[in-house]
């Protein structure tokens, strides 16, 4: 598979009737980076992510994700990416280990590979003593860690994290981000959405969506410099002020 970019998108557009949800976006995500995908509610982030994860087709434009074409190979994309939903999507009545094995199976992994990888990840994320506990008995922070673990069980090229820290307190958010760093360190690329502007600073590069377009894309420090802002929150405000779409 080709080397440098895990995502390459050109002129991607999605229309619903007369409404253009995603309006001609082009960008790349570089292998091994943490890419922050920012924007206001309704800016088109979810629609764009659905196309990148093989869940919907664009109206026009082209794109490659993890080396596969979003038009013709969406099933292969699904197999080679990880996705952690902002809604909790594990089986609450099953144990930690059962959840891991089920999702490993869904991704088509061999049983002994699932077991080996499960042990490796549970050990790394500190889950060994809880492996036989039912998921519904775990504290919220642990559920989130587990959902993340499950999303990378098949060692994907890239993992999509959709607001992984929504509603999470400052201490637990930081623990989660150290986990993201750790996983990216092991070679997985991370594509993250967040509404916490301090978390945007933890990304290598961030894009800002406004009214379906990507109005800015760069490293946090370069963006702050370009807009003469002291924080990414300020950059966000400057860009969001130009938005025509409002909720």
């Amino acid at each position: 598979m080709q080397g440098y970019n895990v995502i390459e998108v050109e002129h991607l557009t999605k229309k619903f009737g007369s409404f253009t949800a995603v309006d001609d976006i082009s960008f790349e995500v570089i292998r091994g980076e943490i890419f922050g995908f920012l924007g206001a509610n309704g800016a088109g982030k979810t629609t764009a992510m659905k196309m990148l994860t093989g869940l919907s087709f664009p109206t026009s434009g082209k794109g490659m994700v993890a080396g596969y074409d979003i038009w013709t190979q969406s099933e292969l994309i699904k197999k080679n990416i990880g996705y952690m939903s902002q809604k909790f999507a594990l089986y609450s009545d099953l144990t930690v280990r059962d959840n891991i094995e089920i999702f490993g199976g869904i991704y088509g992994m061999e049983r002994h590979d699932v077991r080996r990888r499960a042990v490796e990840l549970m050990d790394r994320l500190g889950f060994m003593t809880e492996k036989n506990e039912r998921v519904k008995d775990l504290p919220q922070g642990w559920k989130q860690k587990l959902a993340f673990l499950v999303s990378i069980i098949h060692n994907p090229e890239i993992v999509f994290l959709d607001e992984p820290t929504g509603g999470v307190d400052p201490a637990a958010r930081r623990q989660f981000w150290e986990l993201i760093y750790d996983v990216v360190d092991s070679g997985i690329t991370a594509f993250v959405t967040t509404h916490y502007m301090d978390e945007a600073e933890y990304c290598n590069r961030i894009s800002m969506m406004v009214d379906g377009r990507i109005d800015a894309l760069d490293s946090p420090s370069a963006l702050k410099k370009r807009f003469g802002a002291v924080s990414i929150g300020e950059v966000f405000d400057i860009l969001a002020r130009g938005a025509k779409r409002s909720e």
Partner: protein, 309 residues
Amino acid sequence: MDIMDSIRVQRLRKGYGRGLPPAVDITDGFSVSGGELFGIIGPDGAGKTTLFRLLTTLISPDEGDATVQGLDIIKDYRKLRTIIGYMPGRFSLYPDLSVKENLDFFASVFGTSIEENYHLIEDIYCRLEPFADRKAGNLSGGMKQKLALCCTLIHSPQVLFLDEPTTGVDPSSRREFWETLARLKDTGMTIVVSTAYMDEANRCDRVAMMKAGCFLEVDSPRNIVEGFDRRLIAVRSDDMFRLLQDLRSIEDVGKCYTFGDTHHIVLKENAVCTPEDISCILSGKYGHTGVEAVEQPATLEDCYMNLDG
């Protein structure tokens, strides 16, 4: 009882059995003044939602007593429910009813009409009006939140309870939401709000830090920040991830955590080292480049991160 108190809690305990520790176990008591904007912050499982459900009479305490606007949360629950507004953390409107139908419904439940209290919701509802006929279930996240607040306000409550109202809301919409709260506060409404955002907690008159069912500290954001008694240094270098680990291995560093584009270190109680000392160690011993270290006053978020000492 102080006539100015809107909420008064003597003590309050609620457990969910199964040998678990109580979800709420407030022994010292607290009160919220009339017209106060009172924030509650704390980790998941701290008991914030249980406390909301107790004060809004949705569940009864195992023990303890509390009043809201002078009404007992157990004896006077029927009357109490008519004068409070509660916006739960989970979207709980009728997804199959339209925006307008939801609002009409909640108004009629409280024996009022949209027209009667329109002034309270006007600045929020004007944004929703173009979508008045859309089903609530088909609204975007930000709009659902606006509608939920309208439905909570439509009977002109005296006390407003908001459980993490801005989770999943973008920064600009959050700011608008808090501007609305400020306007409501100006009408004399008492507002109790929980949040995971420290910039929002900063806008409250007082903030309660809650953990394991109790309030650890209740004070104005300013007093909490001024009470921070350790030295704090903001550090950055060209390799932020490695920096985090390296800072943690320095003897005088008590705590180290990410903080936007810097890492914050909180020095141990009797540590004497200066920002320059830290810079030297990082460049010399660990080979970091582009090192900057500056002593800074703590923010509310720093106080939260250092709650357990």
